[in-house]
């Protein structure tokens, strides 16, 4: 019974993670502009990876490997948004025709 419960929880988490990853991949290929694309890609890098790793941790049970898997989550959650931020900032600084792509917010 408990095993089945764990399997169900793991499958649910993995399915959620896969849903986010698939939507991220579709977004990266369907969107045309960089800022839209990093919006989609960072979704997969944070939420998708989070749910997938959580599902792996549930499937593995409590031991050292689970601790390592859970330590991966803060790593991904710090590095991936920072790299998305840098890509977006680079786009802002180097695209000379930014007005054509986005409506700039003026204070």
């Amino acid at each position: 019974m408990l095993e089945w419960l764990r399997f169900g929880l793991c499958a649910l988490l993995m399915a959620l993670g896969l849903f986010f990853e698939i939507s991220a991949v579709i977004g990266v290929f369907r969107f045309q502009y960089v800022l839209n694309r990093i919006h989609a890609a960072s979704l997969g890098d944070t939420l998708g990876v989070f749910f997938l790793l959580l599902g792996l941790a549930v499937a593995n049970g409590l031991d050292m490997l689970t601790l390592k898997i859970l330590l991966l989550i803060p790593l991904f959650w710090t590095t991936s948004p920072v790299s998305s931020h840098l890509i977006g900032k680079l786009e802002l600084t180097t695209n000379e025709e930014l007005n054509k792509e986005v409506s700039l917010w003026k204070r």
Binding site: T79, H85, L86, K89, L90, T94, K106
Partner: protein
Amino acid sequence: MARIDWRRWIEEGGDALDRDMRTFQAITEAPEERDPFELPHPRERLTYARFHRWSHSKGERILKVIYFSLSVLICLGLSALLISTALDLPQFGADAELIDNDISTFYVEEGLRHTGAMNIITGIILDFRGFDTLGESHVLFVAACTVLMLLRLPGGDDPESQLARRRAEAFDRHFEPRGDVILANCVRVLAPLLIVFGAYILLNGHLSPGGGFSGGTVLGAGLILYLCAFGFARTGRFFNFKVFRAVTSGALAFYALSKGYVFITGANGIENGLGPGVYGRILSGGLLMPLSVAVGLVVGCTMYALYALFRKGDL
């Protein structure tokens, strides 16, 4: 030049961008062109003219003949070598030759006893095939030296090299994410972790998956991340050209000397005092750990040097 602030472009519209582009172009516009082949001394000019005449008449023809015949010969020789090797290979799908090939089973079964390495890959790379790895690390070193020769900016006081350095500085300031608070705070946590992890991979290469090349790559990545976040002024405090030169040549010299010692003693049947030690301890496996540290230092320094040279032209 004042630091170009991207936020100002957004708030003030296109005018600020145009103004910044104008100042940027004024700094980076090219100096007056001079003939780089113009020689200052009349005797040098005369010698040059003589060589020029010779190379355009007789010498050119001789060199062309030598060049063409040599290129054809080398090409034919290499293809003959490759074809003969390919003909000697076992038939595809015939596994009889692979079963009889006992060198791989020897590595797997006897590697631990001969090298003292729990991770048999490190044992093969650094012990059975240590000569090959020595060549590989020298290839990396030569690549770094070549990039240094091609891309390093001149360090003199004359106006041209000063201008080149100022231009590189302006490009670096303009396009790189320097002074980014988010990246800096992230790197303040991540870079020490990365460097410690690289050192762990280096030191533990003979016990767990890892070794010189992977650990050195992690080390180099940590250094590059630190450079991205804090700029050349901060990294120059602990890693400049002198450190690069000392570390890479020292590591390569250590590798070559220790391997030479092992080769000489091994070939002459002398006891070298470098037994495999107790399996599983960190101080075991003879020279494996120092060798993987040396290889890792070379790899990390080369990665960092290539990145820094391609980015700014200096370490």
